[in-house]
Every structure is written in structure tokens, then in C-alpha cells.
């Protein structure tokens, strides 16, 4: 292109970017430190069993980011994400227990098979979209649960597969940190992706594939790429979940779990990383939180319901309620609500009315 385009932008004409004062930075630093303290230090004081719950929260956050790639970036819904995650869990457990490989090999294999199966479903998504694609993923989840996860040599059948903690991370708190590290990597990759051409290509083609193709974007390849990214994240989360629980069984990866995954992603907030992490962690910790509220257990039993309400099933009641509120009142989920705070933490001016230039529309959450 001509030199017209390579000359530096007329930056001096535009208002200078907001920079917080020294006190402002200090205040932000204090809040950051408080968050770090809450995430890194506080859990260490808890019993080992609870640390397992916290590690699961980190894994669910990865799942939420994985599902967000499909739901938030590509605009396709997956009702079979439990199978995406489950296949990663079984792969890692199989590699470690049956093949006697190291944990890292197991994680790599889980990520690879997660990406491979997502690629196949991505191929399907190029042909059918919307509700019908949701049905395909739903049946894929059911088929996986009834068939793939019943292969005795791969999954250990009804007894499940053993998945020991990796060497050097045997203790609960070390494994918790390992999960946090993986979450940090996934967050970084997702952040980089959305700031580079591949992420922008996804956003463009979600809104208007015709326009995206005139930008020179290969719409098919970009869609498949997004599915692979989502599948790799899901497989990774599966491997981490497997070794967190020390064993994997086929019954875990059912349709209920897929529903919880979708709900936590939407409630957390599409295209908002902080929201997704909070949403994922909240739904992973729902049983834990319910147990922590004194007397809530007894209350649950007294509520007349078509099925027994336990802390585990309670999220299938809380979830849809939150989903309803989200869809009607706050389509951007938790992420949209906390945006003033996250923007402030990132060094911008505090603006309570800042709901973001890309306010999530209800139509985004289309089935």
C-alpha cells in the first residue's frame, strides 16, 4: 500500500488515554493483591477434601472458556460438551493407568483427542447450524455416554478408570496450583487469540460470514479452527478433572453436566473472561456453598420436588433460574455486571455505566 497508510496515525489530535494516578495504581494493586490472596493463599488453610473442590472450580472455568469459544465466538451451541470433556478425562486416565505413560503425555493426548473429535463435529457444523446442530451435539453426547465410554479396554467399563495424581503434584494443594496454572495458560491463549487475526476472524464470521469472506477470511477453516481450540481446551479440562478425582467413570459425563456447562457459560457471560471464570467456579462450587450454609441441607430435603434435592442436583434448579434472569435482564451475564470493576482493575477510569461496546444480545444465545 502507499506511504499514506504507513505513516504514523495522527495520535496527537486525539484525547490522551486515561492514566490512573499513583494513588489510583496503589488502590488497584491492593485489590489485585486481595484477589490473589483469596485465590492463592486462603484455600491452603482448608482441608484437603475442599481443595479438591477448588481445583474442580479451576477446571470448570477452563470448560466455560472452551464452551465460550463455540457459543460466544462462533455462535454455535454445544449440548454435548460433557462428552468433549469426558473423552479427555478417559484419554488421560487410559494413557497413565493402562499405558503407563507420564501425566504430561496423558494431558497432551487428552488435548489432542479433544481437538480431533471437535474437528469432526466442526465439519458437521459447516453443513447444519442452529437448533439442528444443537441436536447433533446432544446426540453425540448421548452416544458417547452409552457407547464410547462403555468400551471396557478404554474406560474400564462400569468400574471406571484409575487416574492417579501426577508425580510431584500428589498433594491436594500442589494439584490445585497446577490446575490454576493451566487455567492461566488457557486464559492467556484465549486472550491472545481474540487480540489477533484468528479471533477477529471468528467474531466477524459469527456476525456476518459474507462480509468476513470478503475480508479474505476462509470461513470454513476459521470455523473448524475454533472447534479445534474449543476441543483442546475441553480435553485439557477433562484430563485435569480426571486426576483431581483420582478416577473417571462413565456416569459422570451425562446430559445434566452438559446442561450445567452451557448454563454456567451463559450466566458467566459470553465473551467475558472474568465472567466465565466466575461462572464456572460458581457452578463447580454450588454443592460446596450449599453445604457451607448452615441448615440449608435440611431445608433442601423439606422442599417438595419431583426428584430428591441434594447439593449436587440443586444446581439444576438454581442454574435455570439464573439463566432466566440472565436472558431476560442481563444478557451479558456476570461479566457484563462486573465490567466496571474489571475495567477499573485493568487501569481504566471507573465508570458504573460502562456495559461495554459489545453488549451481548439475547440473539447471541441462540439455539
Amino acid at each position: 500500500m502507499t506511504e499514506l497508510l504507513t505513516r504514523p496515525a495522527a495520535a496527537q489530535d486525539r484525547p490522551a488515554r486515561f492514566r490512573p494516578s499513583a494513588a489510583g495504581w496503589l488502590l488497584r494493586l491492593v485489590v489485585w493483591a486481595a484477589i490473589a490472596y483469596l485465590v492463592l493463599i486462603v484455600p491452603l488453610g482448608r482441608p484437603a477434601l475442599e481443595l479438591q473442590d477448588f481445583a474442580r472450580a479451576a477446571c470448570y472455568a477452563i470448560v466455560a472458556i472452551s464452551l465460550n469459544v463455540l457459543l460466544g465466538y462462533v455462535g454455535q451451541i454445544s449440548l454435548g460438551h460433557a462428552a468433549f470433556v469426558g473423552i479427555g478425562a478417559f484419554m488421560s486416565a487410559y494413557m497413565v493407568t493402562v499405558q503407563g505413560q507420564a501425566f504430561w503425555i496423558g494431558v497432551l493426548a487428552a488435548a489432542a483427542i479433544g481437538g480431533a473429535q471437535a474437528l469432526v463435529l466442526g465439519g458437521v457444523s459447516l453443513r447444519i447450524r442452529g437448533l439442528y446442530f444443537a441436536l447433533v451435539t446432544l446426540s453425540y453426547g448421548l452416544v458417547a455416554g452409552d457407547n464410547i465410554f462403555q468400551i471396557e479396554s478404554f474406560t474400564g467399563g462400569g468400574a471406571g478408570q484409575q487416574a492417579p495424581k501426577p508425580q510431584g503434584f500428589e498433594s491436594e494443594w500442589r494439584y490445585y496450583y497446577l490446575c490454576l496454572a493451566f487455567l492461566a495458560i488457557v486464559l492467556y491463549v484465549d486472550w491472545r487469540m481474540m487480540r489477533t487475526k484468528s479471533g477477529r476472524a471468528l467474531l466477524a464470521l459469527r456476525e456476518n460470514p459474507r462480509v468476513a469472506s470478503t475480508f479474505g477470511i476462509n470461513v470454513r477453516m476459521a470455523t473448524l479452527f475454533a472447534f479445534v481450540v474449543s476441543g483442546v481446551f475441553a480435553g485439557l479440562a477433562g484430563a485435569l478433572l480426571a486426576h483431581n478425582d483420582l478416577s473417571v467413570s462413565a456416569t459422570t459425563w451425562n446430559f445434566n453436566l452438559s446442561l450445567v456447562f452451557v448454563i454456567m457459560t451463559v450466566v458467566g457471560g459470553l465473551r467475558s473472561r472474568p465472567g466465565l471464570v466466575i461462572g464456572g467456579a460458581f457452578f463447580a462450587l454450588t454443592p460446596y456453598i450449599i453445604e457451607k450454609i448452615p441448615g440449608f441441607d435440611d431445608l433442601l430435603v423439606k422442599i417438595p420436588a419431583p426428584f430428591d434435592l441434594t447439593p449436587e442436583t440443586a444446581r439444576l434448579v438454581i442454574g435455570p433460574l439464573l439463566l432466566l434472569i440472565t436472558l431476560i435482564q442481563f444478557p451479558g451475564g456476570i461479566g457484563q455486571q462486573i465490567r466496571p470493576i474489571t475495567r477499573w482493575l485493568a487501569g481504566h477510569r471507573f465508570d458504573i455505566h460502562d456495559k461495554g461496546p459489545k453488549e451481548v444480545q439475547i440473539t447471541d444465545v441462540r439455539a
Binding site: V211, T214, G216
Partner: protein, 272 residues
């Protein structure tokens, strides 16, 4: 020498022959207008040239290379840029994000290296952003860079769209009704912009346009389509006064015999 040539393009949708044996040629640095009444098949012609439709018959050559069957994104990477009748922009994004997204082909780094944040990708991204700013200034959009596209006035959207298509670094620009939604003054300024863009970027431009003064001012050559067929082609002034073109736009003079018959009937009714 022609940059873009189309020979005998024909396409049929069910019972409608949308284009029949349409041939056009666009020379280097030429601004070519495509006019014709609504439903004449102008946008269909654009869709075949840019690859959204594959013609039933005919060939399209771009810089001497056959591109008749290539997918849209490959044609875009060869330097064919287009705008849409109903504004082709990512509405949920800001103007700057649109301009950066459109530079997809200039982002010269691998997907994975971008995801891992390699130094090349970071510096390229910075370059893309400054190019976006420069382009926005060229089209007088500097103040709108951080504004979300959705909600801006239609005429402004059309200008943003031209900026984004320029960001794809095209050699040939296909504009689908660039002046729609603009007032006469804005349309006149658009004409200045187009002439200037041709000069600075060395572009060839094909445009579908209804605004006759604009066509007459900027176009070197005009094709007129009607009912999917080429009615006539020539210099803007000749085409404008061509009797068939006038007829296609305004309708023909009524048949004298029919007029006499109507008058006769009218008088009969009055006599009753």
C-alpha cells in the same frame, strides 16, 4: 489493458433469468458505473464477480487469470474488494476493530504464533492499528474510531464500509450503491473521495449507482442493465440520453391507438 473482464455471464434462479450473457470489461484506473432499474440484475452481477454465486455460463478473468470458480476469500486475497448494498460491517464492533479485522490478509503471522503472543505478531498488530487510524483519517472518520458501528447514520456506515474495504488492500473495488442514504451534498463529496482514492491508491472501481449526477461526474464508462441483460454501454452522457435507457427508467410513451381507445371509452361512459 483490462484488469477485470467478464464474458457472457448467465445465471438463473428457478424461473428468473437473473443475468443473461452479460459481458463487461474494466480497465486499469478506470471508474466504471453499472446502472439499471431495480431488479435488473446488477447486484447479481457483482455476486458472480466476487464469488458468492457461480455463473451457469460464462467466464470471469481477473488480471488475465480465470477466477470463475474460485471461492470468495481467494478472490479477496487476489485484490478484489467489495461493499454491500445493505452495509457489510461487523455491527457489534467499533470502527477501529472493523478496520483492523479487514486487514486479515495483511496480518502476516501464523495463527499459533499469534495465540502465543510472538514478538512478530505483537509488532504486526501495532502496525495494523496505526494503519486503521490512518485509513480512518483519510475518510474523515478519525473521531469515530472507538464508536460502535451499530447505531451510526447510514451515510456514515457507507463511508466506514469503503474504509474497511480499502483496508483489505484491493486493486479493484466493487461498490454496491455507495451513495445510498446520502444527501446530494454528501454524494457530491463521495465523488471527490472516489476520484482521490483512485489517484492515491491506484484503484480501478466498479460501482452500482442510482445517483445519476455522481455517475456522470466520476465514471469513465457506464453499463446499463435491464431485465438481466445488457441494454447499452458507453460514455456516461451518451448512456444517460440513450432512448432505451430512458425508456427502461421512465417507461415508454403510450401507444397512440390505445390512447384513442381509452378516450373513446371515456366519452361513452360520460354519455351514459
Amino acid at each position: 489493458m483490462s484488469v477485470l473482464e467478464a464474458y457472457d455471464l448467465s445465471i438463473r434462479f428457478g424461473g428468473v433469468q437473473a443475468n443473461l450473457d452479460v459481458s463487461i470489461a474494466v480497465g486499469e484506473y478506470e471508474i466504471v458505473g453499472v446502472i439499471g432499474p431495480n431488479g435488473a440484475g446488477k447486484t447479481t452481477l457483482f455476486n458472480m464477480i466476487t464469488g458468492f454465486y457461480i455463473p451457469d455460463r460464462g467466464r470471469i478473468l481477473y488480471k488475465g487469470e480465470e477466477i470463475t470458480d474460485l471461492p470468495v476469500h481467494e478472490r479477496a486475497s487476489m485484490g478484489l474488494g467489495r461493499t454491500f448494498q445493505n452495509v457489510g460491517l461487523v455491527k457489534g464492533a467499533t470502527v477501529r476493530e472493523n478496520l483492523v479485522t479487514a486487514q486479515y490478509l495483511q496480518a502476516d503471522y501464523g495463527t499459533v504464533s499469534g495465540m502465543l503472543g510472538s514478538p512478530t505478531s505483537v509488532s504486526t498488530e501495532r502496525l495494523l492499528r496505526s494503519r486503521a487510524d490512518a485509513l480512518a483519517d483519510v475518510l474523515g472518520l478519525g473521531d469515530l474510531l472507538d464508536t460502535q458501528v451499530a447505531g451510526l447514520p447510514y451515510g456514515t456506515l457507507k463511508r466506514i464500509e469503503i474504509a474497511t474495504v480499502l483496508a483489505t488492500d484491493p486493486d479493484v473495488l466493487l461498490l454496491d450503491e455507495p451513495s445510498s442514504g446520502m444527501g446530494p451534498e454528501e454524494a457530491h463529496k463521495l465523488g471527490d473521495t472516489l476520484l482521490e482514492l483512485r489517484r492515491t491508491f491506484g484503484l480501478s472501481i466498479v460501482m452500482i449507482e442510482h445517483h445519476v449526477p455522481l455517475v456522470v461526474r466520476v465514471c469513465d464508462w457506464v453499463y446499463c442493465l435491464d431485465f438481466g441483460q445488457l441494454l447499452t454501454a458507453g460514455r456516461p452522457d451518451d448512456v444517460r440520453n440513450h432512448p432505451q435507457v430512458v425508456a427502461a427508467y421512465l417507461g415508454e410513451d403510450p401507444d397512440p391507438a390505445a390512447v384513442a381507445l381509452t378516450e373513446q371509452l371515456d366519452s361513452l361512459i360520460e354519455a351514459d
